[in-house]
């Protein structure tokens, strides 16, 4: 397949403009590690965006970074860490889930898929940290939107629209992200041996308390076992706190008081705490062993664990865990038939949520839609939106199904 490698936004605009005229589909690639997300792209050429890489401006005091979307996420994390900062939305490294190496993905891929980690309920999603974009539409126009400050209501919030659009509206050439200071200290409380329903209820009590947990997850025993950095081979509710070191013991004591004396809390400190959450973020406990499908389900948090139990009971060989205090479920199932799509989508909808087939063999994706189907009025509106940005449908054709 032909590979187009523009070096500048003008090159890129020219190539996209020509592809539009020719009606030729383009497969947008940054570092190429997230191609397994969504449906396979059916395009005539690869649009290699790897030249749009590197940090242009990093202003720690303003807490912003402007960079090329193909910049490796691992590099960005290192640069921020040197200044005691981080990306608060903590995007996952999805490489290993798709059989790629760890640490190879780009920031642009994380933005295009709106990927956020365990801190999302409190810190916001990837799209909430994207302050500004420069990009080229499917019409071959170079445009910018947003800005370089957090508080900005000047014009439509196009960065939000571009984030999570899987490269179907515009090709990104430059991003401005908000970054955050690292907390001076952190600790994770582990509450052991709770069954799922009780864990779901407890997580709501913790999330609704004034303890300000920054992350909250539940791992059933068989998944806790597979999380290599987690030392405890039992079902566990994990609660992460951050803040001044002197204030954390009080937070652990308050949590113990909230949980009750019958469930003793163990502390996972510092690096161990970080590694535990990286494992949850990267879904390492459900890494594929053989032909399996991985679902990502968003639900009202109080419904999460009960829904997971219900689904696991009906789907042989299912494994799961809950992040976001129950608001996000990761569910791994055997990939035969519809990989549980009928049951999972119906149950998720009934619970007020929606489901995305995050990873699956191509044969499964050819049978069922990866993304939650939209109702007719909404689908029509989104179609008109694509007309606005990419009337010839040349950007990542087929990606969304």
């Amino acid at each position: 397949m032909e590979r187009l490698s523009p070096r500048t936004p003008d090159d890129l605009a020219g190539l996209i403009g020509a592809a539009r005229t020719a009606g030729r589909g383009l497969h947008l690639v940054g570092r190429g590690t997230r191609a397994g997300l969504g449906h396979p792209v059916a395009a005539e050429a690869v649009l290699d965006l790897s030249a749009f890489s590197g940090i242009d401006v990093y202003e720690p005091a303003e807490q912003i970074v402007t960079l090329g979307p193909a910049t490796p996420l691992a590099l960005l994390r290192d640069v921020l860490a040197e200044q005691g900062q981080r990306l608060a939305f903590d995007p996952p490294d999805t490489g290993p889930l798709f059989g790629e190496g760890a640490g190879l993905g780009s920031i642009g891929g994380a933005i295009a898929a709106n990927l956020s980690g365990p801190g999302r309920p409190r810190a916001g999603a990837a799209r909430d940290h994207l302050l500004g974009v420069e990009a080229v539409t499917g019409r071959g126009e170079i445009f910018k939107a947003g800005g370089r400050v957090v508080k900005n209501v000047t014009g439509y919030d196009l960065p939000k629209l571009v984030a999570g659009s899987f490269g179907t509206l515009a090709a990104l050439t430059r991003l401005t992200l908000r970054v955050a200071g690292r907390p001076p200290a952190s600790v994770t409380a582990a509450i052991l041996d709770l069954e799922a329903a009780a864990a779901g209820r407890l997580m709501q009590r913790i999330a609704g308390s004034a303890l300000e947990p920054v992350a909250l997850a539940y791992l059933p025993a068989e998944v806790a076992l597979r999380c290599c950095h987690h030392p405890l081979a039992a079902a566990v509710v994990l609660v992460r706190f951050e803040g001044p070191a002197v204030a954390l013991p009080e937070r652990m004591a308050d949590l113990q008081a909230l949980v009750g004396a019958e469930a003793p809390i163990e502390a996972i400190e510092d690096e161990d705490s970080d590694e535990t959450w990286a494992t949850i973020r990267d879904v390492a406990g459900l890494l594929p062993d053989g032909e399996r499908a991985l679902w990502r389900i968003a639900v009202p948090p109080a419904a999460g664990c009960a829904l997971a139990l219900q689904l696991a009971a009906g789907l042989a060989g299912a494994h799961w865990f809950a992040d976001w205090g129950g608001g996000r479920l990761w569910l791994s199932v055997p990939s035969g038939g519809d990989a549980g799509a009928g049951a999972i989508r119906a149950a998720a909808r009934a619970a007020g949520g929606h489901a995305q087939l995050f990873r699956a063999p191509l044969a499964v994706k050819s049978r069922i839609p990866v993304f939650e189907p939209l109702d007719a009025g909404r689908a029509l509106l989104e179609n008109r939106l694509r007309d606005a940005f990419d009337p010839a449908r040349i950007l990542n054709p087929g990606k969304l199904g």
Binding site: E141, F143, G147, V149, A247, R251, F389
Partner: protein
Amino acid sequence: MALTMPIPDRAVIDGRADLLARLARLLPQDALISAESALAPYECDALTAYTQRPLAVVLPRTTAEVSAILAVCHQAGVKVVPRGAGTSLSGGALPLADGIVLSLARFNRILEIDLENRCITTQPGVTNLSLTKAVEADGFFYAPDPSSQIACTIGGNVAENSGGVHCLKYGLTTHNLLGAEIVLIDGTVVRIGGGKALDGPGYDLLGIVTGSEGLLGVVTEVTVRIMPKPQGVGALLAGFPTVEAAGAAVAAIIAAGIVPGGIEMMDNLAINAAEDFCNAGYPRDVAALLIVELDGPSGEVEAQMDEVAAMLVAGGACTLKRTRDDAERLGFWAGRKAAFPAVGRISPDYLCMDGTIPRGRLAEILAGIESLSAKYDLRCANVFHAGDGNLHPLILYDANVADELQRAEDFGADILRACVAVGGVLTGEHGVGIEKRDLMGTMFDDTDLAVQQRLKCAFDGAGLLNPGKVFPVLHACAELGRLQVSGGKLRFPDMPRF
């Protein structure tokens, strides 16, 4: 002033009687206002310098009524200006001579409080403050708190992506929404967002509708997140001999990774106006005053109060008070919260500006404002949401003095241009509306604006929802579809600028 609105469509104005008859068939008698005297209260919003009577005002109660009204207007080519409480400072709800005003005032019920999932589903006409009032006994609050929160509605907050003094820690409206129901101009009802779940499917239409200033759809239902009330709150009040020192102290706090609930700054004119107005106990002789509020778990607040106090002293604070007492803390805020009426007392009129800048450029911008103040011979009091670089310069003028309004508007425009020049933006939380519409070109080139207007076309191809706001030049959607671009400049025939 130079501001002009689109030329009214004479045929629509002439067809008013027919339109009223059609609307009357859709609505109960009390939901349609057409008498001249009764239209008067709707002729402006909080940007009172501009007024216009609409053809009629409709006050629907249900989504079905909104849908029917919009479908009729769509069919008849009648423009629609949605309105919440009418507290917009940028003229977002200014009526059109050839359009109706669609008031959401009767969508005034909270539909569901779900404490377990920490969210409220509400109709859009409920006031911002009522949301917090509805859940505070249970230990929760709705975080965005614009200063008009007693009057402004949640639907208006969605339209403007409103902020407030606590958005430094808790985010703007957009960060606190889960889902919404909107009605498109053709009457189609669409659900956007994820309901009570985070990050709904499809493109982020909730993100794009939030802050769209009523140009994309009419919000008829909203689901917002609520937060547990913090365990502890504390505040520090520090005076500085120079604005530079105060600005540097703000930067130091943020750089240390501390996220205060809010950081506010007032300059000397604002401090003295507030003191004259309400005796808040502020030091009158300092150049700048900072209020830093910290909230969260008690131990953390205490530890951070110590840390911030040390930073303020190290940064050259010449006065410093700190408190964990609620009454005393509210006293710290009294002058800041009264800043607008306080300035109103020392001047017959004022314009409230709303730019955002990178925090590090604060001193530079203030020096620029001072020299502009001399140039235009008008006073300017400054209050800021300093933590996120959002400035509210209040330009003092007297509308009864010939050309003072014009001078004040020119002064304001120069301030906003200066904000953009240092890497900031035209508006942080008040919206573009009509007020900053003609300045959009300082931030965006023609292509940028064409991309935004094509988005509008996807929602409202005929351009009937709130036209004349946000964009300095209106283009027909068919024309935008054909446009070819070159170097950021669109080639089009001479378009009327209004």
